[in-house]
């Protein structure tokens, strides 16, 4: 009987049941967020293209290092050349580190020579929690059919001693996975440990 209750529960609370974590090979949950130009952007509008989600917070030293070394930008450019959509998502709550206005977000994109398709604001943290984004950076890859294919770190430079590591020598999981999806191969590391600062969620 217990299983029956669970079952009914699942059918009626399907969206709720999805919140918290999306396993690879499952549908990436739909979301609609405002971008830094005030447009409403929905994930489903990118069906037919690969999508990279990047959780970010410019004040986080991990994110800062990825941008100072050009590592994040080169990954974004790689995606752009392949016509892959890149969504930088900010889940910092108002008043916390990383929370920015539209103008600040656009200025950051220009000064850092970044090339995301959109910078999205998730101040309530709703989308971040659905995807179980834990750190900045925390990366996700969704394929043309809207299926989650990769989640975790941007590269293998995480772990103790990150600050003194050369990011350009690290293995870039996002690039590798994108290439493997493109070539129709199995992704060699579809789940990796995300590393960085905690996402500054509204409590």
């Amino acid at each position: 009987m217990k299983k029956f209750i669970t079952l009914t529960f699942l059918i009626f609370y399907f969206p709720h049941f999805l919140s918290s974590y999306v396993e690879n090979e499952n549908n990436a949950p739909e979301f609609k967020l405002l971008d830094s130009y005030g447009n409403e952007i929905s994930l489903s509008s990118f069906i037919g293209k690969k999508v990279v989600l990047e959780w970010t917070n410019h004040g986080c030293p991990y994110v800062a290092k990825h941008y100072e070394t050009g590592n994040m930008q080169s990954t974004q450019e790689f995606a752009k050349e392949e016509e892959i959509i890149w969504l930088s998502i900010i889940s910092s709550a108002p008043g916390t580190q990383g929370y920015v206005s539209s103008d600040e977000a656009n200025a950051l994109t220009i000064t850092r020579k970044a090339s995301p398709s959109h910078v999205l604001f998730d101040p309530t943290g709703k989308v971040g929690r659905i995807y179980d984004a834990k750190t900045t950076p925390h990366m996700y890859i969704i394929n043309e059919e809207g299926i989650m294919k990769y989640q975790g770190a941007i590269d293998d430079a995480g772990g103790r001693g990150f600050m003194s590591r050369d990011l350009l020598k690290a293995k870039n999981y996002v690039k590798e996975s994108l290439q493997q999806i493109g070539a129709g191969e199995e992704i060699s590391s579809p789940v990796t440990k995300p590393y960085g600062c905690s996402v500054k969620y509204a409590s």
């Binding site: 299983k3 669970t6 699942l10 004040g59 030293p61 750190t135 989640q151 969620y201």
Partner: protein, 625 residues
């Protein structure tokens, strides 16, 4: 022993070896003169530092990270040791920091200092080996850490800090349960499962004297890697399985009668026949995909299910039983559902037949479901272990195989030419087909009898009778008076609703063992008869009990041995407090469950350990005389 002391401002913290959901632990690069070597960092026991909704592990306010410095040969004093240290200091935000510290060590006798005490305070919290035997079980998305504890060593709380990412969920609550001589800790598994080969980390055990830390490492069985070629093979087998299902006693009658019906109609509308075939196929495939979706949803919610789960519910079995009884009755009589609707007009007839074909497809899958369980259980169970996409493929293939024979016949009705011309034999054949239906109904009833007591089975039988009666009434309901026909239909509705409402929804006997509810009298009876008795004191809220029941008591080897040796299984359920059980527990110096007693034919009972494994239990059961 050298230590690097981190003194942080109030409310700031730095991290442990595994930082948890975010952050990272410190690094120390020792710059040592020749002949000296430093160990890796000895990490003192960490604290939990929640950052809603995340969890991190580290040290608040202050910590000393330690390393053992040893010399391989003679060294020259004074020795200068430098350490390049990198660390993160975090509160709401994180700041990476680095610095160099140094110390000069002179030759001379050891002089005690305040530093020594400080170092010692941290050194004692560096996790040592855990001296007790312990085991890890993974059940339904949780790890269970179980261990015996010796007398006097009682912990008020235990917390597990995992060493690596991808093992346990950091943020979720861990549940600690203390028993008389053992404890169990439930730790939710990580949603991101990296299939680690070891359960490794540190446990923090707290009691009145403070906290102590121990290292834990236990091998895990790793799931087999997914096999891509296996998938193709599975898809082929699913297809063949679907084909074979057509001749199973549950399904064959439905389909053969459907085919006969369309032979009759086929004469005048053969151009439409393929259409019905397509609608039927659609019905079958949609139903199978729906089942696949349901199973995948259940699976991802952490339910431990396989195919055949539908036969674990008295409710489902009873409804299927009614369905089979009713179908058998329909075959015997002239009632064919949908036939009344079909008389409206020729246009509507075509439409309704399409709908009817679609519904037949769904019905075929429903009646097939009990037959697939024993037949394809393991194959479908394996399919569910695959990624969702593959599971769907397997179910799709099963549906295609299942629908194919009828589809082929509908496209090429000439294949049926070997059958005799439509005629009276068809009626006879149809009536005969009621028997496989009723045979399936009998089998379902037998399955049900294993789950509920005989009174409940009788109730379901009465329900079956009411269903049959209502069908008979419907058939005879040809009064010219409209209001009378509606009245009769109303009565039938009451009968059907009544028979459904008496369906049991709960087990009225337990599922695994033939278990008898404990009372002192029953126990004494068995003892006087010199029977061997296993007495299980359990409760629904007792995690240790449930884990023991899952891994040891309900194992096939154990139940087989119990029935082979005629050991009576008695269960004393303490879910609700019960005076008689409490008294019995007290006799054995217990205040709570679990307690396992094994009564030999004569003499005092043997008290079994609180943590049962299949091996331990089998040994005790074998030695019992």
């Amino acid at each position: 022993m050298l230590g690097v002391k981190f003194k942080l401002a109030k409310d700031w913290h730095t991290y442990w070896e595994n930082p948890g959901d975010a952050g990272e632990g410190a690094t120390i690069d020792w710059i040592l003169p020749k002949g000296l070597e430093a160990s890796s960092i000895l990490w003192p026991g960490p604290e939990r530092i929640p950052v809603e909704p995340l969890m991190t592990f580290g040290y608040n306010n202050e910590v000393i990270l330690l390393a053992k410095i040893s010399s391989t040969n003679d060294i020259e004093f004074p020795v200068n040791i430098e350490a390049k240290v990198g660390w993160f200091t975090c509160k709401d935000i994180c700041i990476p920091q680095e610095g160099i510290v140094d110390i000069q060590i002179n030759e001379g006798l050891f002089v005690s200092s305040s530093y020594r005490e400080e170092i010692n305070d941290y050194l004692v919290t560096v996790p040592g080996d855990f001296s007790q035997d312990y085991r890890i079980e993974k059940l339904d998305g949780s790890f269970f850490l179980q261990t015996d504890i010796s007398d006097g060593e009682h912990f008020d709380d235990i917390y597990f800090f995992p060493k690596e990412y991808g093992l346990t969920s950091y943020a979720e609550e861990q549940i600690y349960e203390k028993n008389q001589n053992s404890f169990i800790l439930e730790i939710k598994a990580s949603k991101a499962d990296l299939n680690l080969s070891k359960f490794e980390g540190v446990i923090e055990a707290s009691n009145k004297e403070g906290k102590s830390y121990y290292q834990i490492s236990f091998p895990l069985t790793v799931d087999l890697p997914k096999n891509e070629q296996g998938i193709l093979l599975l898809i082929v087998f699913a297809f063949l399985g679907g084909l074979i299902l057509n001749i199973m006693p549950c399904v064959f009658p439905i389909l053969s009668i459907k085919i006969l019906r369309f032979m009759e109609h086929g004469e005048n509308s053969s151009s439409q026949a393929y259409k019905f075939g397509l609608f039927y196929t659609l019905g079958v495939i949609l139903s199978f995909l729906l089942i696949a979706l349901l199973l995948i949803l259940l699976k991802s919610s952490g339910e431990n299910i396989g195919w055949g789960f539908q036969l674990q519910y008295p409710l489902v079995i009873s409804i299927l039983f009614y369905l089979f009884v009713a179908l058998g009755f329909m075959f015997m009589s002239n009632l064919v559902f949908g036939s009344q609707m079909g008389q409206l007009s020729s246009m509507a007839q075509v439409k309704n037949e399409s709908l009817e074909s679609f519904l037949t497809g769904i019905l075929a899958v429903v009646v097939a479901s009990p037959c697939t369980a024993p037949f394809m259980g393991s194959a479908i169970g394996f399919a569910l272990l695959q990624p969702s996409g593959n599971s769907f493929l397997i179910f799709l293939s099963l549906g295609l195989g299942f629908a194919l024979p009828y589809l082929v016949l509908s496209v090429k009705p000439s294949l049926l030419s070997f059958l005799p011309k439509p005629g009276a034999w068809m009626e006879t054949f149809k009536q005969f087909m009621a028997f496989p239906m009723w045979a399936s109904a009998l089998w379902l009833l037998w399955v049900l009898s294993g789950q509920v007591d005989s009174n409940t089975v009788l109730l379901v039988l009465v329900g079956g009778l009411a269903i049959s009666l209502s069908l008979w009434i419907l058939e005879k309901n040809t009064s010219p008076r409209k209001w009378l026909r509606w009245l009769v239909r109303f009565i039938v509705l009451i009968l059907v609703v009544g028979s459904i409402s008496i369906i049991p929804t709960e087990y009225s006997t337990k599922d695994t063992q033939e278990e008898i509810v404990f009372s002192e009298e029953i126990l004494n009876e068995y003892r006087e008869a010199k029977e061997l008795v296993f007495l299980n004191f359990t409760a629904d809220w007792c995690i240790t009990c449930k884990v023991n029941e899952r891994v040891a008591l309900s194992s096939k080897k154990v139940t087989e041995l119990m029935s082979k040796r005629n050991i009576i299984y008695l269960e004393a359920d303490w879910t609700r407090k019960d005076g008689a059980i409490a008294e019995k527990l007290e006799q054995f110096g217990r205040t709570g469950v679990p307690l396992y007693l094994l009564y030999p034919s004569e003499g005092e009972p043997i008290i079994l350990p609180e943590i049962l494994t299949e091996d331990i239990l089998l040994r005790y059961l074998n030695e019992l005389s």
